[in-house]
Amino acid sequence: MSSSERLLLSGDEAIALAARHAGVALGAGYPGTPSTEILEEFSRLGGRAQWSPNEKVALEVAIGAAFAGARAIATMKHVGLNVAADPLFTVAYTGVSGALVVISADDPGMASSQNEQDNRHYAVAAGLPMVEPSDSQEAYDLFLAAVEISEQWHLPVLYRVTTRVCHSRTIVAPRPPADAVPKADYRRDVRGRVMIPAHARPAHRRLREKLAAIAAWNETSPLNQHVVGSSPLGIITSGVAFMHAREAAPDASVLKLGLTHPLPFEKIARFVEEVEQCMVIEEGDPYLAEAIRARGIVVEAKPEMFRFGELNVNRVRRILAGDISPEPPPQPGKPPQLCEGCAHRSVFEALHKLECIVSGDIGCYTLGVLPPFDAMDTCVCMGASLGVGLGLRHTLPPEQARRVVSVIGDSTFMHSGIPGLVEMVYNPPATGHVVIILDNSTTAMTGHQEHPGTGRSLDHEVTNKIVFEDLARALGIRRVHVVEPRPGSEELERLISESLASGELCLIIARRPCILIAKQLREYEKCATVCEPVEV
C-alpha cells in the first residue's frame, strides 16, 4: 500500500482499515448506530468479525482474545458500554497480554439514540486511557496508537468516537500494514487474571501506577497537537469540536487533545499561561473543563445550554462570543415511520384496538408510539420491556394489570430479553403476563444485521440458530404461540385477547420477515439448503 494513496473513508471505515492494518485477530460487537459499520467493514476487508448477543458478551470475547495475547476490538454504541460496564471496570485491573481497544461510539444530539450520555466519564470511572479522533485520518492514526498504548502498558484503551466522526467521510492516507503481529499464546498468570480480592487489591494499585506513567508520557505525547495562533485567544478542545473551533476561530491558538485520559495537566497549564484568555470547546458534558479547573488551572467553560446536542461551527462562534440568546429551533423535518407493509404495523393495530398498556422496547417497532398506532407506553433501554411490564403487572390494580403487554424485537430479545423472561417465570405476576416477540428475522433498526435467532453469522453464513419457542418452553412457559402478523388477519388480535384473559404466562411470537430484506432472505435460504450448520 503506497503512502501517497488517498482514500475517502468514513470514520467507521477508517477504524476498520486500521484494525486490519494492525493485524487485529478478532472483532466482536453488537450493532448500534453510529458504531455498526466498523465490524461490517472489518469483516468485508477480511477481518474476523462477529456479532455477539450483546455488548457485555462482545467485550468478554474480546477480553479473552486479548488475554490470549492477540489484538482484539469490541465495538458498540455509547449505551452499549453500560451493558458492558461490568467487565470493563475489572479488565482495567487485570489488564491484557495482547491489545484490547474498546470502541464506544457516542451520539451527542441523539441522531439515533435514547440518550446522549458522554462516555468520556467511563475512562475516568474505570481508569482507562482514552483517545478521541476528530476526523477519519485521526480515526485511523489513533487506532494504531491505541493498539501501541494497549500493548505498551498492557491495558485496554477506550476509543471514544462520536456520530460526526463515525459517519463523515474525509480523506485518509493509510500506512503500510503491520508486518509483525504478536501471535496468540497462552501464559498462565493467575494473580493477574483471577480477580479474587487478594489479587484485585494489588491489581488496583498497579492500574493507578500505569495511569500515572501514561499521564507522564502524555505530557509530550505526539497525540496532542498545539496550533500556534496570532490572536490572544486560546482554545482547548478534543474530537470533532477541534474542527469546528479551528473554523470558527482561525487565528486562535489551539491545544487539541488526542489522548484525553489521563490528561497532560502540565502541558495544559503551560498552554493556558501562554494565552490571554482560554476557552474549553467540547461537545457534551464539560468533562475537560471540569477536570482542568479541578487542578486549579483557570479556563472558561461553555455555557450550560451547549451541553445539549451536537456542536457545529455556528454554535462554537456563539460560545466564543458569549452569546446565550435562544438558538433558532431546529427545522422540523419529516419524522420516520414504519415502512408500508411492515409486519410490526398489524401488531400495533391490534394492541391499539385492545387498549393494551404496552411496555415497549427499542428497535424499528418503537415507532409504534406514533399515530396512527399510539400503542407504546414505555421505552427505557434494550430489554426493559420485560422487567418494566412485570413491575407494572405486580403493582397496578388488577383491572389495569390485565391490560399490560411487553413487546420486544427479536434482536432485542436475544440481546437482553432472556433474563426478563426468566424473571417472569421466577416471579410471575398474579394476573399472569403476555410477552410479544416481534420476530422479523433481523436487526432492522440498525441496518439489518444478523443475530443468534436468525441462524446466520455477521457475514450471513449459516450457523446454529436459537429457536425462541423452544427456549420459552424449556423455561417452563406453557402458552407459547407462533403467529404470522398479516394485515387484515384477526388471528393475532384474537390470540392477544385470549392470552390476556387467560391470566397465565404467555409468549406470542409474531413472525414475519422485515419486508426490506424479504428478497435477500430467500437468497440466504437457498444457500442454507446447501451449507450444513454445525451439530450441537
Partner: protein, 161 residues
C-alpha cells in the same frame, strides 16, 4: 467568516431518494479532482422514510465536516416539500437546485433524479467531466450505469437553475 476557498453543497430529501448516494458521488468526483473534501450525513431513524440531508464541503483544506447554517453555496433538493426544512443552510446568494430543474418525464428511470440533479450541479462546479463519470461508475452497480449516465447528461446538458 467562512473560508472562501471552500465550496459548500447540501443535499436534502427523504429516505430512499438517493440523497446519500448523490453526496457520495460528488465527494468521490471531488477527490478525483484533487481537492480536500469532507462529507457528513446522519443515518439512523432517517432510513424509515424521514428527512435526510447530507453535506459536502471541498476546497484546499476543509475543517468542520458540516456546512454551517447560512453558508451553503448550493442546496440540491430531491423533493419539493424538503425545501423549507433546508432553506436556512443556503447563503444569501447561494443557488437552490430544485427537482423541476430537469424534465422528469425524460428520465429512463425516475429513481435517477438524484443523479440528474448532480448533472445540473456539475455545470456549476470546477470538476472535469471525466471525474464525474469515473465517480458515477465507481459508486453505482454496473447494471445501473446506462440509466444514470443518461440522467447525468440530461441534467448537465438541459438542466435549469
Amino acid at each position: 467568516m467562512s473560508d472562501s476557498s471552500v465550496t459548500n453543497v447540501v443535499f436534502g430529501g427523504l429516505g430512499g431518494q438517493g440523497v446519500l448516494k448523490a453526496s457520495d458521488i460528488l465527494a468521490d468526483a471531488v477527490v478525483r479532482a484533487g481537492f480536500d473534501v469532507k462529507k457528513s450525513e446522519l443515518h439512523g431513524m432517517s432510513q424509515r422514510g424521514g428527512s435526510v440531508s447530507s453535506d459536502v464541503r471541498f476546497g484546499t483544506r476543509v475543517l468542520s465536516p458540516m456546512v454551517p447554517a447560512g453558508e451553503a453555496d448550493f442546496l440540491v433538493i430531491l423533493t419539493a416539500d424538503q425545501v423549507e426544512p433546508n432553506r436556512h443552510v443556503l447563503r444569501a446568494e447561494g443557488k437552490l437546485i430544485l427537482p423541476d430543474a430537469v424534465s422528469v418525464e425524460l428520465l429512463l428511470n425516475r429513481k435517477s433524479l438524484n443523479v440528474a440533479l448532480l448533472g445540473v450541479l456539475s455545470r456549476q462546479l470546477p470538476i472535469a467531466e471525466e471525474h464525474w463519470l469515473a465517480a458515477l461508475r465507481a459508486n453505482l452497480a454496473e447494471k445501473l450505469h446506462a440509466v444514470n449516465l443518461q440522467a447525468f447528461n440530461l441534467g448537465r446538458n438541459s438542466g435549469k437553475i
